[in-house]
Assembly symmetry: C2
Homo-oligomer: 226 residues x 2
DNA sequence: TAGCTAGTTTAGGTAAGCCTTAAAACAGCG
DNA sequence: CGCTGTTTTAAGGCTTACCTAAACTAGCTA
């Protein structure tokens, strides 16, 4: 079977399925279409093509999962993406909130040899600047055991681990408020009626909407001293 | 008029016209087609489209030149290409003969901000690893005053300046023979009937075919001591 | 000066990936 | 069981960038 160097479009589909399926394991086509900014009909078409190529499995009316082959390709793309993010951020001094979009472009134009050389140059980093783990060259990914803040309860404390999934608007907002991996968090209050979650991050109070809280992950350490 | 971030195809055309027109100033469509690995018909079509967008001027049956706008875009692409070559070669330790192809992929996926940051990281290099000058961020390019070895005559001496245009096959051959910018050259003999050119490069004898000699440039310094 | 040849252009066609609109199939609910 | 909203199929189109085959032109050569 030829690897054939999948094109940008295919890589974006695989990467997006991987992201959407991270939690429940099944990515609805509608979500896929929305994420990629295309119509649901087009997404369905493409999913069929990917299915024929053995990259995804489609359960009608339920969603899409990656096959083993598909997952390997997705992780290769994600690896390149996160390695470039490290490089752009640490060595080129580009803004934490901007490197995601730059890496999105570079990830499709990077040969495996280049990705490996970047990894070596960076000292085989384990996570990207936004805290997400970097797959190894064989496509293996260490799943972190953190939880989105949206599942934390008042009194819970710990430290921020990652932002996922990443998007410029979210990252820019977080950068502006100095919220990033490594910061300590304490959940102080959960407003009723689906209101915002009140937290202290790095000692400063913040009100996080539900959507945002679901995209910020942290490791709970309630037994630790304050 | 929108800049619209030209796509890969357009960028390849502009870059190739720039290369082919480097000497005579007019790139024949057939040469363009051959270089890009497409049919002459397709090249003609595309040249029309580029002409409508004001990127090239086409003189029928003669060839193509870049307009001012077209040249600026071409140089932006070339700048990214050569900056990546520097980075890949100097910092990632990838082979001199391989970085050209890797850079060909990256050049189309690099935002100007990233290119500028790479340039700063590298210390604003003046030339790529193959000796070709790097345009500045405004698209200005210092034209070197060297000549292809094919125009040298027996007795001429000097130093190699660059390989142009670049291609993997040529670079690989040169790498294998330790021929690269900076080496000293002396033309010892010009075989008759369009035969090879006999030279000494870095003290070692080489026989260069006409094609190859036309792609290696050097600066003649006949007044210098041996 | 007609004719040859290399280079160019026109005409007609393909494939990938996207689109819209409309109709059919289904899941999950009361 | 039937309703409602989501998902999928069907049909027809668009754009980009490529193709082949055939017609045409420029400029040289006989």
């Amino acid at each position: 079977m030829k690897h054939d160097s999948f094109n940008e479009s295919v890589e974006m589909y695989l990467k997006t399925v991987s992201e959407l399926a991270a939690g429940d394991g099944l990515a609805p086509i509608s979500a896929l279409a929305q994420h990629l900014g295309i119509s649901a009909v087009s997404a369905t078409e493409m999913v069929h093509r990917l299915g024929e190529q053995g990259l995804v499995d489609h359960v009608p009316y339920k969603g899409v999962t990656l096959t083993l082959t598909g997952a390997q390709h997705a992780y290769r793309v994600i690896r390149r993406h996160r390695l470039w993010e490290c490089f752009l951020s640490e060595h080129l001094g580009l803004g934490w909130q901007h490197v995601h979009d730059y890496a999105c472009q570079l990830e499709h134009a990077t040969a495996d040899e280049v990705a490996d050389a970047v990894a070596a140059f960076l000292g085989q980093p384990a996570v990207c600047p936004h805290g997400n783990p970097i797959p190894d060259r064989n496509g293996r990914l260490a799943e972190p055991d953190d939880e989105p803040l949206s599942e934390w309860r008042p009194g819970d404390r710990g430290s921020l681990s990652r932002v996922f999934p990443e998007s410029f608007l979210l990252l820019d907002y977080l950068a502006m408020h100095n919220i990033r991996p490594g910061r300590t968090v304490i959940v102080t209050e959960l407003a009723p009626f689906n209101g915002p979650m009140m937290v202290q991050i790095g000692g400063l109070p913040h009100a996080l909407g539900h959507e945002i809280a679901a995209h910020i992950y942290g490791i709970r350490q309630n037994d630790q001293p304050i």
